[in-house]
Every structure is written in C-alpha cells, then in structure tokens.
C-alpha cells in the first residue's frame, strides 16, 4: 500500500509544476486525438444524418456493418494502418509510419464507427420528429438538414465526446503505428505503459492523473454545454 501511496505522492510532485517533457506529451495527446476525432466526426455526422433520414436499399446491412465495426479490436485497426503506411505498403511512399499522421489515421478509423453508431442511435429519437416538423412547415432540403442538426446537436456532441474519450485512452494500436518515440510520437497512454514497465511507477501515476483530469474536464464541459 505504501508503494502506491509513495507513487501517488511522487507523481503529484512531478506535476507541480509539470516538466517540459510531460507538457509535450499532453499536448501531443490532445492534438493527435483531437485531430482524429475531428476527422472521424466530419465523416460520421453526415453518415449518421443520412442513415437517420434516408430510406435506401442495403441500409440495414450498412447499419449492421457499422455496429460490427464498433466491436473490432483496436489492435486490428493498428494492423491495418501499419500495413497501409509501412514502407512496403500502398501508402508507404508518404513515410507516415511512426509519425503523428499514422496515429491520427488509426485513431480516426477507430472513432468513426463509434461516433456514427452513437449519433445514429441518439438521432432516432429526434430525427423523425424534427423532419416532420420542418417538412410540414415548408422546409427545403437544406433547411431540413439544418433543422435536424439543430435539434440533434446534443446527440452529436455526446457521440463526439465518446469518440474522443475512446481514442485518447487507446494504447496498443497507437503504440504499433506511432512507435512511442520520445519527443515525436510519445502520448499519454504509451508513456504510462512504457514508464511503468521500466519501473518508473511515479511517472506512470503522474501521467495517469493528467489523463483522468483531461477526461473529467471534457465531461464536465459537456454537461455545462448541455445545461445551457
């Protein structure tokens, strides 16, 4: 027990004030996961709107595939992205392997089905009513989409936050394609895993606290926005 408490005390000391390396890791984590979430959302939100509002052939199959994709282990996505960006892969010439670019790509692929499925599930409740309301009062197609987005904005926000939480906490896949290179691709999760394995328990704890604080800040921020 004292081992854990000592770790906790030393971890806190490392954060007050945080060193340059820790700040760099936190910044990269937020940048990579933020960019991945934005990219995934740009595809996932229109996809969810389309699935919620349009009837077309093969829609149920598509929704089934997206729900299945949610269950694909992150490490398999890591494998796929590794294959794509490694020197002998189809995107090998871009030299993305072990760069933040590869990490963003993998995390975006991981977040896309999650954000789509969550947004779709939440939209089901509001989309039909918002559609009926807008159409019956004379909305054209652009106004219809705008009304549904406005009525469904909290649904989207919740889905996006869930996607961000998923990717910022991901370790194995990020390690595979990023390589955990100090100062270049080291992020919170890969650093925690490395430092702990190296026996630097207190650094792991310090970084863990930062990760928890980031998650807390995001969730309270979300509640504050929804309360408005």
């Amino acid at each position: 027990m004292s081992y854990i408490l000592d770790g906790l005390r030393q971890g806190m000391a490392l954060l007050l004030p945080p060193g340059r390396e820790i700040l760099q890791i936190v910044a990269l984590s937020l940048a990579v996961s933020g960019a991945a979430t934005v990219l995934a959302s740009l595809a996932a939100i229109p996809a969810a709107l389309l699935l919620a509002l349009k009837e077309f052939r093969g829609k149920r199959l598509l929704v089934g595939l997206i729900n299945t994709a949610m269950a694909v282990p992150a490490v398999l996505i890591g494998l796929l992205v590794y294959g794509l960006v490694s020197r002998r892969g189809p995107l090998g010439t871009l030299g993305l392997l072990f760069t933040p670019g590869a990490m963003i790509m993998a995390q975006a692929l991981l977040a896309f089905p999650l954000i789509t499925a969550l947004a779709l599930a939440a939209l089901k409740g509001v989309a039909r009513e918002a559609r009926d309301l807008a159409l019956s009062l004379g909305a054209n197609r652009r106004q219809l989409a705008a009304t549904v987005i406005r009525q469904g904005r909290f649904a989207f926000l919740t889905a996006i936050i869930a996607g961000f939480s998923r990717v910022i906490g991901e370790t194995g896949m990020t390690l595979m394609v990023g390589g955990n290179i100090k100062g270049q691709t080291r992020v919170l999760t890969t650093a925690i895993s490395l430092e702990t394995m190296k026996g630097n328990f207190e650094i792991g704890i310090a970084l863990g606290i930062v990760l928890l604080l980031a998650a807390l800040a995001i969730n309270f921020g979300l509640q504050w926005v929804q309360g408005k």
Partner: protein, 355 residues
C-alpha cells in the same frame, strides 16, 4: 385545392397499409376520413402532405401529377399545405417562435397583426410569449393549428386534431375549421369522432384495412351505411344479425326467435338489420297501425341520456335499444320489468350484407 388519388399503395414492414386507394376529395369543403385504428388514415394524410412517398399509385394536385415532380416543385407544393399532427410537434421556444417558424423557412415575415388575429381565432389570445412546450395539451393542439393558419395554406391536413382534448378545446378547433371552409380552404380531417364528422363534413370517406369502404355525404355514410363495418364503427345501437327468408309471401330476417319483416331485393342469405333507436315506437299494448313489425318485450333497463331516455328492451332474447322522450317515459311509468310492445316499419329496417 382539387385532390384526386389513384391506386395509392403504402407498405410498412412488409405489411400493406394502403391497398390501392382511388378517391377524390371535395375542394373548399371538409373531407372527413373515418375508420377504425389501423385503417390507414394517418398514412394517407402523410402521403397527401408529401411527408412520405407512396409505394405505388398517383396523387393529382389540381390535376398535376405528383410522381414526376422534382424536389423543388414538391417543396413549393408542400408550402401550400398545413399539416397538424395527432401528437403536437412543437419547436422549443415561445408560442410566437413557433408561429414564425414556417414564415422564416419561406424567408417571409409575419406581421404582429396576423399573429394576433390567428391567436384570437384559435383561443390562444395573450399567449404569444409563453414557452410552447409548457402549454396544456389542448393549447398545444391549437398552437399547431395556429402555426399553419399563419401561413394561410390552401389545403389543411389535420390528423385527429381533437383526440384527447377537453370539450371546450374541441369546440374551439371545430369553430376554427368551420372558419377555414368559409374562407374557401380545403380541409382533409382524420377523426374518430362521429359527431364531429356530422357537424363538419362536406364529404366522408370510410377506410378499413387500407381500402375505401364508402364515400359520400355524412348523412349517406353514417345513416345509410353500405357496410356492416361502418355500422359497427359508428356503434349503431341496434345491429341484429340474421338470415333472410320468405314467409307467407313476405321477406323476413330471422333473428333468433324473431322474424323481422324487411324490404329487400335479396330473399335469402345472411344479413344484418340496423334499426335506429328513435325509429322504434314503445306502447303498453298492441297498436293498430300500418307498421309491419310489432314485438312484445320486457324493459331491462332505463338510462337517462339527458336529451332522451334510452330503454333496453328484451324481445324473446333479442335486446333492442329504444330512445324515447323523458315525458313519455314518466307518463308510461316505465321501469325495469315493465312489459311493453315495440313497433317499427319494415322500411325503417336498414339491411346490410353480412359474411
């Protein structure tokens, strides 16, 4: 607006909701769609309002075919409609926000004067600033109607606008609908309320299981139904199932122990008699009259309905409901157990085919 539909079909989850409907609606009148739950009333209204697309079939609006219309024309057409949903769909915001939403979608503005007038006409005067979602059920429904009245559409599509409302709200909405027709608007109204149909309808269409059963004036459809379904739907008091037969040169409906004389071209097969409770005469003894049907019975119960008194009378196992005035009831000292005679003409028996 002139509306005609041809072979209209709709399915949901593999089940046919509308099954090849052909009908015309009367322009500048209230067209009432009647039918039991699941008849397809809401589906039909949604198709007419361009909220959903038909599986098959065609709708003509003032003679223009719907199916080849591009999206922009559909939007223009939809902007001439006002749809009121059965469960109120309101925007978060004030009553006035809701009233202005349709105009905003059209890039128009609405004058304070119009807002005020519409609120007056729907019994919502003084509520413009209130939060719409905090209104009572009846007020929400009236707000839905007000919201489309602001846009002054040519066609009103109303899906059970008075379901679950208090009598005063119902009256307000019915008055507003009457006003629309006076202003030359076409109204298509789905309802379960027969009194409302009789009160408002220029035309009644009766649907069952996605098919048209009968169309005509309210009096035709409700008082002279062509189908037992309509008689049962309208909860007609005396629906007596039996079998037609010839007896001593007369056509009768054998109904339990009774043989009811009827006027019918058919002389055999299953049928049902519908007799209006106000068409039956009650007497304490046999009457000398031209009426062909007279049965002895016993009063089972007396119920005061306000305007009339309803008697249940058992005649050899068949129970009739009869309406008489309160005066007659007290004069004849009718009570449960009193012996009476029931008399009605053969021409007052409305015969319907039965399967």
């Amino acid at each position: 607006m002139d509306i005609r539909i041809e072979g209209l079909c709709a399915t949901a989850g593999g089940r046919a909701i509308l099954d090849g409907l052909d009908m015309e609606f009367s322009p500048g009148a209230v067209n009432v769609i009647l039918g039991p739950n699941g008849a397809g009333k809401t589906t039909l209204l949604r198709l007419l309002g361009l909220l959903d697309r038909p599986g098959r079939g065609e709708i003509y609006y003032d003679g223009r075919k719907l199916s080849p219309m591009p999206p922009a024309s559909r939007t223009r057409l939809r902007r001439r409609f006002g749809f009121v949903f059965q469960l109120p769909l309101l925007l978060a915001g004030s009553v006035e926000d809701n009233l202005r939403f349709g105009a905003r979608l059209r890039n128009l503005s609405v004058s304070r004067e119009i807002i005020g007038r519409v609120l007056d006409n729907t019994g919502l005067a003084g509520k413009a600033g209130q939060e719409a979602r905090l209104l009572s059920g009846g007020e929400k429904q009236r707000l839905q109607l007000a919201r489309v009245m602001v846009l002054d559409p040519d066609l009103y599509l109303l899906d059970e606008p008075t379901a679950n409302l208090d009598p005063l709200s119902v009256k307000n909405i019915e008055a507003a609908i009457s006003g629309l027709v006076r202003a030359g608007k076409t109204v298509i109204l789905a309802t379960h309320n027969l009194t409302q149909a009789r009160l408002l309808a220029g035309k009644v269409v009766f649907l069952k299981e996605g098919r048209l059963v009968q169309a005509g004036s309210a009096a035709e459809v409700l008082s002279r139904p062509l189908s037992l379904d309509i008689a049962e739907f309208s909860a007609a008091e005396n629906i007596l199932p039996g079998v037609l037969a010839r007896r001593d040169g007369r056509t009768v409906l054998e109904c339990g122990a009774l043989a009811i004389e009827v006027v019918s071209e058919r002389t055999a097969g299953k049928a049902a008699a519908v007799i209006r409770p106000e068409d039956i005469l009650v007497s304490s003894g046999p009457l000398v009259s031209s009426a062909r049907n007279s049965f002895r019975g016993t009063v089972l119960a007396v119920a005061d309905l306000g305007a009339v008194v309803a008697l249940s009378v058992d005649c050899s196992g068949t129970v009739f409901t009869v309406f008489i005035t309160r005066g007659s009831c007290s004069q004849m000292k009718l009570a449960a157990g009193t012996g009476v005679m029931l008399t009605f003409k053969a021409t007052q028996v409305h015969l319907l085919p039965r399967e």
